[in-house]
């Protein structure tokens, strides 16, 4: 495939604006148009690109790729329409509100074989996570024993008003919004998890959805992962601890637009048998700081590589989205919560 691919964005909110920058920064992409149901949101875009109030007009205006940046309620409809019209689709997480949503999306993906579909699990491309993955895959630290992840927000004035806490639009609370990234990372580092136990709470905020979720997962090789996803941490926090046979890795902080999650670091600790007498329980550590987050760009580059070179999407694929949604569904069901009747389903089977 030669020349630039024409891209369009559906939904011009927080994520839509990030995607616009990513598209404009990528020499292989040309931004053709943006659609949003709110005309005021598009007011400043002329003459940057074409604008639409109906996403179908955008999909039909000659784009090759559709970036879906809509609230969860709308995403499946837009993704399925785009796939059925032969467009490659990059969809923000989560892939809808329920397991049913991602299954319907996968059905459309299967019936439109030539198109590529990827989901925005950009945390896989954060520098600290990438570095941790290289170290884990090198085998120098041995096998992963367990994972512990904390991902949380401080809440804030706009928290209650956000569409993310409107059950109909979002389908779930902090777990589906943020916790999904940590669960995706658990899967990124370990085998699939088949046992899931969870609690969810609406402990502080007066919202329709949970503001805290606690989960413990185990897979068939005995790796255990613990998650705390929270909107009551009072400090923006991201921390993933990976405990291995010969040491540990701690990815902490996230490079973000506001910097509110703190400096992104990876702590590398090595188990040092011969030095134990000197520094019992306090091994030598190495801290790596990262100054620039290229995760948004890198995931789109990976997606373009799949499109241009006719490769299958293996990172952040629909299969990944399905499996992580199944874990979330199990956590909700484990605490007898079902925000939508349609989510009351059995755990998904392997999709082809």
């Amino acid at each position: 495939m030669n020349g630039k691919l024409k891209a369009g964005i559906v939904g011009y909110g927080y994520m839509g604006k990030i995607r616009k920058t990513v598209i404009q920064d990528n020499p292989e992409l040309e931004l053709l148009g943006i659609s949003d149901t709110n005309p005021a949101a598009l007011a400043d875009l002329n003459p940057v690109c074409k604008t639409f109030n109906d996403y179908r007009q955008l999909v039909d205006c000659g784009v090759d790729i559709v970036f879906v940046c809509t609230p969860n309620f709308y995403s499946p409809e837009v993704v399925i329409y785009s796939l059925n019209h032969g467009k490659h689709v990059f969809c923000e997480k989560p892939p809808g509100r329920t397991v049913d949503d991602i299954r319907r999306i996968m059905h459309a993906e299967r019936t439109n074989r030539g198109v590529r579909l990827m989901f925005g699990f950009n945390h896989r491309y954060h520098p600290g996570i990438k570095e941790a993955k290289v170290l884990v895959d090198s085998g120098r630290f041995g096998k992963i024993l367990s994972l512990r992840g904390i991902y949380g927000k401080s809440g804030g004035l706009s928290y209650k008003k956000s569409w993310r806490n409107n059950r109909e639009l979002s389908g779930g609370g902090i777990l589906l919004d943020q916790g999904i990234h940590m669960l995706d990372l658990f899967r990124f580092f370990c085998e699939d998890f088949d046992e899931v136990k969870g609690f969810i709470n609406t402990s502080f905020w007066d919202t329709e959805v949970e503001d805290n979720a606690y989960a413990i997962l185990r897979n068939r090789v005995g790796q255990v992962a613990m998650l705390h996803s929270s909107a009551t941490l009072w400090k923006h926090t991201f921390r993933l601890e990976i405990l291995l046979e010969n040491g540990y890795l701690i990815a902490s902080g996230l490079l973000s637009k506001t910097g509110s999650y703190g400096r992104e670091t990876l702590t590398i600790g090595r188990r040092q048998f011969e030095d134990e007498a000197l520094a019992l329980g306090n091994p030598r550590e190495e801290l790596v700081y990262f100054d620039r987050d290229a995760s948004w760009n890198l995931e789109v580059e990976a997606f373009l590589d799949c499109i241009k070179n006719n490769k299958c999407v293996v990172n952040s694929s629909s299969q990944d989205a399905l499996k992580v949604m199944a874990i979330i569904d199990k956590i909700y069901r484990d605490d007898n919560i079902s925000y939508h009747d349609s989510s009351r389903i059995e755990p998904p089977q392997e999709e082809g």
Partner: protein, 344 residues
């Protein structure tokens, strides 16, 4: 993305630079500098080798050679300076150099291997795994540390190791045949083009006379996307700023260039390289200043530093050292840079 690495370790100055041996080394260096450079070589005036700035201020003389501080990037450098040919001759034949290789380096070899070289090899293999897993040919330029090459061979991290212009005797008997080859001349005249996947420049840039011409040759020798690993002392660091002319680490020709972090960055960018890691993971800044103060209590030090050394304990020293690392203010710099791919 620019990485910054912070180390927490328990290395001691005395383990790698025992006082008695260091004093002898400095004494011999002073003598050799006089005979090789002051009396026996032509010296050439130069601008700042890092940023090429001509604004400068006289700092101090060491062993008869003049150090200047750059008015733009604050690097410290010697001018006028000997040509690279004289420097190469110095490292191959001088008494000081012989003492370094046969006495100082040998007597501290075990500690250096354990505390320095093993970790350097881990560092470069990890970076290579992440950024250039296809790397096969590893170059070590102006090698002064024989144990590093030995550790590198033992690690089996590379299929091919090329040592360019070694300043130490690397006897072929200790190598696995076919793994290590030697180019017995300076990089600038080796005519290498897009050959090296990864290059080690450990304590090399400090002693290069014509930095621009060296980096031009390096840029040619490295394959597109190839990685370079540089370690050096940096004038941005705490102990060098505090001790300045009293520092035992600043002397010619070992430290002819004492670049600031800003100067090093400008230098690498000017030669078309892109920085991947810019760290100052030094562990010894505070200890070096504390030792110097202990040996000479009448030494003039900033009040804050004196107060900290007098009133606080090793825990504060350690956490201050970590602060220096986190803010790229330690005097030991380790940098990874790569040759840009075409079109990027």
């Amino acid at each position: 993305m620019i990485r910054l690495t912070v180390h927490q370790d328990n290395i001691r100055e005395v383990e790698v630079k025992p006082g008695g041996l260091l004093r002898t080394y400095l004494k011999l260096t002073r003598k050799d500098v006089e005979s090789y450079f002051i009396k026996g070589a032509e010296l050439v005036d130069c601008n700042c080798p890092a940023c090429l700035g001509s604004r400068r201020e006289k700092s101090f003389k060491k062993f008869g050679l003049q150090y200047w501080e750059c008015g733009d990037c604050n690097s410290l450098y010697i001018s006028p300076r000997p040509a690279q040919k004289s420097i190469d001759r110095y490292y191959r034949t001088s008494e000081a150099s012989r003492f370094w290789k046969e006495e100082l380096s040998k007597k501290t070899e075990q500690k250096r291997k354990e505390k320095i070289f093993k970790q350097r090899i881990e560092w470069l293999t990890e970076i290579i795994e992440e950024y250039l897993p296809s790397a096969r040919k590893f170059f070590s330029v102006n090698t002064i540390h024989r144990p590093f090459i030995e550790e590198l061979i033992e690690s089996k991290a590379f299929q091919e190791i090329v040592v360019v212009n070694p300043w130490v005797d690397l006897s072929p008997a200790s190598y696995t045949p076919g793994v290590v080859s030697i180019i017995d001349g300076p990089l600038e005249s080796a005519g290498l083009v897009s050959t090296a996947d990864a290059v080690a420049l450990f304590e090399v840039m400090d002693r290069i006379s014509d930095v621009d011409s060296f980096l031009t040759s390096l840029e040619k020798a490295v394959s597109p996307g190839g990685l370079c690993f540089l370690t050096s002392i940096s004038i941005s660091g705490f102990d060098l700023q505090v001790l300045w002319n009293n520092s035992n680490s600043i002397f010619p020709p070992d430290r002819m260039n004492v670049f600031s972090i800003e100067g090093l960055t400008a230098l690498l960018e000017r030669h078309g390289f892109e920085c991947i890691e810019l760290s100052t993971p030094g562990l010894l800044d505070v200890e070096i200043v504390a030792n110097a103060y202990r040996q000479n209590p009448s030494m003039r030090l900033p009040r804050f530093v004196k107060y900290m050394l007098d009133k606080r304990d090793s825990e504060t020293y350690q956490s201050f050292q970590e602060f220096l690392q986190r803010n790229r203010l330690s005097s030991f710099a380790s940098i990874v840079f790569r040759k840009k791919q075409r079109g990027i």
